[in-house]
Amino acid sequence: MSESEPIIAAPPHLDEVEASVERRRAARATRARVAAVLAPTGLVIAVLVVWEAGTRAFGVPAFLLPPPSAIVAAMVKHAALLTVASGVTTLEIVLGFALSIAVGIPLALMIFLWPPFARAVLPLLISSQAMPKVAVAPLLLVWFGFGLVPKVLIAFLIAFFPVVINTAVGLAAIEPEKIHLARSMGLGAWDTFFKIRLPDALPAIFAGLKISITLAVVGAVVGEFVGGDAGLGYLLMVANGGMDTQLLFAGIVCLTILGVALYLAVELVERLVIPRHIIASERAAGGTF
């Protein structure tokens, strides 16, 4: 055999291998992040384009289905009206949600701490959820008039249940070893609750809050449907009565944006309160949303 060039070049140093692996990982991560934004954006744009083109090509009447451009035009035209209405509805949602927390969490605490109370209250609580809230709305109207109060109460009635259930379940779901550990360390009841049990329940509590905020939006709109004189729900009724489908869609778009924004606000608070825990569970679940 004659001397020849070695077929395999000298193997690269492990540092170079590591650098190239790290480069590829970073590139993959960047691509994934870009795709996470581009994919849904692209889908929305595609739907809007088909919608616009379809309504124009087939001459769909605007009172049935206005093209997106007409909806945007309506939003611009009624900007002041929509802003005021959004403000009213936002206030109702936020107050209803706040009331859900103010009532739901203490109620959950009592359910957790005092089993006889839980036995007495849980059947009532569950039947209250089986009862359609829309049916109660007119009654609240009779009791509290047409102002802010009945809308806040309906939002609260719909939204508080997941807060109660998730908080009570979250508090009870702790591993028994953590409580054994606390007792063996001589940790007092107060410290055991605030240093161990409550932080342990926070992910469950926030899961409840995220459901609750979306339900509060529904509650506020239902309240305005039944007896409103302001807000996005009321605006939808008015637009519907006047066959102003553009305004109807504009209202729906505002409500959707409002609902998503409030949900993201709750999620932001969650990340601030339990950042590490979320990172860990996110890894396990493969992302939020």
């Binding site: 591993e175 070893e177 953590k178 054994h180 550990l181 606390a182 007792r183 063996s184 360390m185 001589g186 940790l187 410290d191 240093k195 161990i196 932080p199 342990d200 339990i274 590490r276 825990h277 860990a280 890894r283």
Partner: protein, 266 residues
């Protein structure tokens, strides 16, 4: 001459006639049947037995976390009522708080004991370094391996300088190599600090390697089958496991298991 004779002084840990019966839907379950044992300060006592022999129940009772159905637990002669807060406990799972760092988890014990913060933190860092976790103080549990988490749990049990450790199959979920290392670490730490240990395991070799005395239990209901004093020189090294003396002790325990039908050689 000292005034107190070692014969009359009560042993540090004294379990007398402990029985435990659980009420269950299918009738009462007898977990422990008149178990008595005692150990002096600094003694390393292991309890081996098949699953369901009441080993964990025994530990919970010795920790004061669960009342016995009958019998007495006495510490230095004083009967126990309520959890023992001076000791350190290590469970089979690390039981770490996911939202606290390794250091923060160790410091939980210091906070419960209201130890001075700067002092406790120095001690916590020293302990973490002693079990090979220097540089991992600020990692969260999900960033640590199973063995590392169990080391954090061990540090948490040690930070208040306890007179005794109660350990319930602490290395049961770890791989063989990590287990060997932790067994060596545990031996060194307990020897240096003169800590008494009540160690529950189903590994015969681990029990013989670590202990001054091995207590072999019968299948349910758990009774003490035999007390075996392990007379092997300390500190014990891994090479000891290849000696005839070591094998002899393991053989004795396995023979008991064979005799009780815990093990069968067909």
């Amino acid at each position: 001459m000292t005034t107190t004779s070692p014969d009359t002084a009560p042993p540090y840990l004294d379990l007398r006639g402990l029985s435990k019966v659980y009420a269950s839907r299918d009738g009462a379950v007898r977990a422990l049947d008149h178990v008595s044992l005692s150990g002096g300060r600094g003694a390393f006592i292991s309890i081996v037995g098949p699953s369901g022999c009441g080993k964990s129940t025994l530990m919970m009772i010795a920790a004061g976390l669960m009342p016995a159905s009958s019998g007495v637990v006495a510490i230095d002669g004083a009967p126990l009522d309520g959890p023992r807060t001076d000791i350190g406990i290590v469970f089979q799972s690390p039981v770490l708080l996911e939202w606290r760092t390794a250091l923060g988890n160790v410091m939980l014990q210091a906070e419960a004991k209201r130890l001075e913060r700067a002092f406790a933190e120095r001690r916590a860092r020293d302990l973490l370094a002693a079990v090979g976790l220097a540089g991992f103080e600020d990692k969260y549990p999900h960033e640590l391996s199973g063995g590392m988490r169990q080391r954090v749990s061990l540090c948490r049990a040690l930070i208040h300088d306890p007179p005794q450790l109660l350990m319930d199959e602490p290395f049961g979920a770890l791989d063989a190599l990590t287990r060997d290392q932790l067994v060596l670490d545990l031996q060194r730490i307990c020897h240096e600090r003169r800590i008494s240990v009540l160690f529950i395991t189903h590994s015969v070799a681990e029990a013989v390697f670590l202990s001054d005395q091995v207590i072999v239990m019968t299948p349910r209901p758990g009774r003490i089958d035999r007390l075996i004093d392990i007379d092997l020189p300390r500190p014990r090294t891994l090479a000891l496991r290849d000696t005839p003396e070591f094998s002899h002790y393991c053989r004795e325990i396995l023979d008991l298991f064979l005799a009780r039908g815990v093990l069968r050689e067909h």
